[in-house]
């Protein structure tokens, strides 16, 4: 992990000017957007790229030979190449466009899982997974009679790798782990788990929804077989996700959806499949949003993922310090900002997360409250719900200060008699 001094500091004020929505007011207050783990805001360049596409070269791709279709196809495929380079310079044919990370994980569980996981086989997950990395495997396990196992977590919210050797067996067929927890913020040691998985001949699947937008990611360094993530969580439009898969695996997999573009030949009694990645992209894809996603990747590359990460480490450290200084806030996940991403889940013991979120909203602060689609983790933490503030490159210390002030103010409504110490 690089330290902040080695990479340029972000000029957040300048970056914020690129995001039109950050100018808006909510309930008469400046919008303080701390919900980027749910979805990020979009820079003008992305919004404009989308409009530009529809205004100037919208056409269906691949199958057309007219100029618009060629331009659209080129823009679409260029994004694929850009994604391939963004995650460490892999082959473009290993990049499949999906709707979101959820669909990518479903694709693996369905198209790979149903042909390689049988009765009595084991699927190893963790206690901190999002439902999207649980339910597809649960559906698979139910259909095939396979067994789900989970790597437990410590009280600080880190994976207990000491349990790994007991959990892995010759029956383990696939290990699927999130790179960064959407609740705890924990950055998991994916490489170490991948090495263990591969020793047992199991596949390594990584849910990158919270990781790829915030950390420099190199799939070869992670040595994972599949990596799924969502465009809308990294400045891109909704409706675009990415599944990276090792080409040897993708080539030997059955398709996911049937339709146009994914076939080589169709007769009424049989069909043969197209090459990868198109075998997995049936029907007209989300061309416009894929093209606009390219602008999001450009934006992130220009800022630099090292700088994004360093900024979030700094901000998370500040956030942890300020929230803990209040004295009554319980924070979930690791305390060391170097071991976690910019996600802070917390609870006020006297105010339900949902009430807190409503109050904060009146102060213009957007956070999320609830189970964050990670109900098993909530049970492990013994919390029905938590509040969650999550950061991105457009957040700064002012946003955290606003959060802290509103948390103090919230106590008023619930009759807390607070004597607040200035930030230390």
């Amino acid at each position: 992990m690089k330290v902040a001094s080695e990479v340029p500091r972000l000029d957040v004020q300048r970056l914020r000017a690129d995001f039109p929505i950050l100018d808006r007011k909510v309930h008469g207050k400046r919008l303080v957007y701390l919900d980027s783990a749910a979805t990020t805001q979009k820079p003008e360049a992305v919004i404009e790229a989308l409009s530009h596409y529809y205004r100037t070269f919208n056409a269906n791709i691949h199958r057309g030979i007219h100029s618009l279709a060629e331009e659209a196809t080129e823009a679409y495929e260029q994004t694929r190449r850009k994604v391939a380079s963004f995650i460490g310079g892999v082959e473009p044919r290993s990049i499949i466009f999906t709707r979101n990370a959820t669909e990518g994980l479903n694709l693996v569980a369905y198209a790979w899982g149903r042909h390689h996981v049988g009765s009595g086989d084991e699927i190893l997950l963790t206690e901190m997974e999002h439902h999207s990395n649980l339910v597809p495997w649960m559906l698979l396990a139910r259909e095939k009679g396979a067994v789900l196992k989970h790597i437990p977590i410590t009280d600080e919210g880190e994976l207990r790798l000491d349990c790994l050797s007991d959990l892995m067996t010759a029956r383990t067929k696939v290990v699927s782990v999130t790179l960064v927890s959407n609740v705890l913020g924990t950055i998991n040691p994916v490489r170490e788990i991948a090495d263990a998985a591969h020793r047992y001949g199991a596949l390594m699947v990584v849910d990158g929804a919270q990781g790829v937008p915030h950390l420099p990611v190199d799939v070869r360094a992670l040595d994972c077989d599949f990596l799924a993530f969502s465009g809308h969580k990294m400045l891109g439009p909704t409706g675009v996700g990415v599944l990276y898969g090792r080409p040897e695996l993708l080539m030997n997999m059955e398709p996911f959806l049937g339709g146009g573009e994914m076939i080589r030949e169709v007769r009424l009694d049989r069909a043969t499949w197209n090459d990868i990645p198109w075998k997995f992209e049936a029907g007209t894809p989300n061309i416009a949003d894929v093209v606009a996603f390219s602008a999001a990747l450009d934006y992130l590359e220009a800022v630099g993922m090292d700088a994004v990460r360093a900024h979030e480490v700094e901000l998370t450290g500040y956030g942890l310090e300020r929230l803990l200084s209040l004295g009554w806030i319980k924070i979930y996940g690791p305390r060391d900002p170097d071991r976690r991403g910019g996600v802070l889940a917390f609870n006020d013991p006297e105010i339900h997360a949902h009430d807190l979120s409503t109050i904060l909203d009146q102060y213009g602060i957007a956070i999320r409250a609830g189970h964050h689609c990670a109900q098993p983790l909530m049970r492990r933490l013994g919390a029905a719900a938590t509040s969650r503030a999550s950061f991105y490159l457009y957040n700064d210390r002012d946003d955290i200060d606003a959060l802290v002030e509103a948390l103090i103010a919230a106590g008023k409504y619930f009759g807390r008699n607070t004597r607040v110490h200035p930030a230390g």
């Binding site: 199958r63 049937g258 339709g259 146009g260 169709v266 979120s357």
Partner: protein, 423 residues
């Protein structure tokens, strides 16, 4: 020669023109001002994807500039606004299709995904070994391959309604195919390769007599004819937003609530779960059971704007205008020597597939493109149709309500040029 049919059609033409001011409408579509190879764009590839009015582009732009947030799970203001915008779009779709309940409207990526969803979820639960699934000979691959996959997996059989040389389904053959083994019928409302409008109401009524549910592939029909799912009494209806002047990446699957409720989920993930433990899962109610993960929120919002736009013009006016334009184009193409139209059904809409003696469709496409004319050439993802008509490919001009007679004239002039090049 062309003057004659212009005279014949002129009265009807003037009538439909009166209800639809095409020059003003064209102003709404920024891309139509664009030039290609120095020529004004003549966009006749609407069956592949349609162009977008400014209101749709602006709706998405505004969504990201002012409201963007993840939906459903948030309490904060933006999340509520985004949820309202997305669910508002669902309500518009419900009205557009005249469905009885917004729960019956599922947002998917497009028609292809809608059909796959039904094939996988309904098909794998209710279709078994020895059962029959009926499709037609004019289906797009997206309404064949998902059923082939189901058939292979469960050991069912795919039966095919044949068609005549005009490209019309043989209804008496269809009735012969229906029997107690039939468990599903899936047919297109409007053929993308031939332009045939199928008698889907009749097809559905016959299937229902045998207790068989019917899916209608409405990818081509929804943008061009008024669809009333309750009048059709179809069990499922799928269409794509991007063919309906909306964004890419968003589509709709309508399903009768009773069927959707009986179906197992399709993809697992966030937002489709009500309560989850490792031992058991309670799925959410409709439609959320089928919408795992963050959906294409902005796409949904854009589709809502497209429906508003289309409603503003009126699908009846659109259909009438396009009918006249198709008649004009058909007559004009018929005058070209060596040109054969593939698909000459009595009930037809908006699609002109043709072959030209001695010229491959791709060459036609390339030469027309030089004149700024965008048509599609190839198998149109309907290889069985190509096989049926014994052609490797066709050239296809497909119309929308923003197309004009002048554009059809440009197409004809372009084809004349193709003939010159190849003579």
């Amino acid at each position: 020669m062309r003057a004659a049919h212009e005279m014949n059609a002129s009265q009807a033409w003037e009538r439909s023109r009166a209800s639809l001011d095409v020059e003003r409408i064209r102003e709404d579509f920024p891309i139509l001002k664009r030039r290609v190879h120095g020529k004004p764009l003549v966009y006749l590839d609407n069956a592949a994807t349609s162009q977008k009015p400014k209101v749709v582009i602006d709706a998405t732009h505004r969504y990201y500039s002012e409201e963007n947030s993840n939906i459903h799970r948030g309490v904060h203001f933006l999340s509520e606004q985004a949820t309202g915008a997305y669910e508002g779009a669902r309500a518009r779709v419900k009205r557009f299709l005249n469905a009885s309940d917004a729960r019956e409207i599922l947002f998917v990526r497009g028609t292809t995904e809608g059909i796959n969803l039904v094939a996988r979820s309904y098909g794998r639960k209710f279709i078994q070994e020895g059962d029959d699934i009926i499709v037609s000979a004019m289906e797009h691959h997206s309404n064949i391959v998902p059923w082939q996959i189901v058939c292979e997996e469960v050991g069912a059989r795919l039966r095919v309604i044949p068609m005549n040389d005009r490209g019309e389904l043989l209804m008496e053959e269809y009735e012969k195919l229906l029997n107690e083994r039939t468990k599903f019928v899936s047919v297109t409302h409007l053929s993308n390769a031939l332009g045939t409008v199928n008698p889907v109401k009749q097809i559905i009524e016959r299937a229902h007599r045998c207790g068989v549910p019917v899916l209608v592939d409405g990818a081509q029909a929804a943008p061009h004819v008024r669809v009333d799912v309750r009048d059709l009494d179809c069990d499922f209806y799928a269409f794509s937003g991007h063919k309906l002047f909306g964004p890419t990446g968003i589509g709709v699957l309508y399903g009768k609530a009773s069927l959707l409720e009986a179906m197992p989920p399709y993809q697992g993930g966030g937002d489709m779960i009500s309560a989850f433990t490792f031992a058991k899962t309670i799925y959410k109610v409709l439609p959320f059971k089928f919408e795992a993960g963050t959906p294409n929120i902005a796409g949904g919002v854009g589709l809502g704007a497209a429906i508003d736009y289309l409603d503003g013009i009126g699908l009846e006016a659109v259909a009438a205008y396009e009918r006249e334009l198709l008649a004009y184009a058909t007559e004009a193409l018929c005058t070209i020597q060596g040109l054969r139209i593939i698909g000459t059904a009595k009930e037809k809409a908006g699609v002109l597939s043709f072959v030209l003696d001695g010229v491959h469709a791709h060459d036609i496409g390339t030469i027309l493109d030089r004149d700024g004319i965008a048509i599609r050439t190839g198998h149109h993802c309907a290889m069985p149709v190509m096989q049926r008509f014994g052609v490797p490919a066709t050239a296809r001009a497909s119309l929308a309500f923003y197309n004009t007679r002048e554009e059809v004239d440009a197409l004809v002039a372009g084809i004349d040029k193709v003939r010159e090049v190849f003579n």
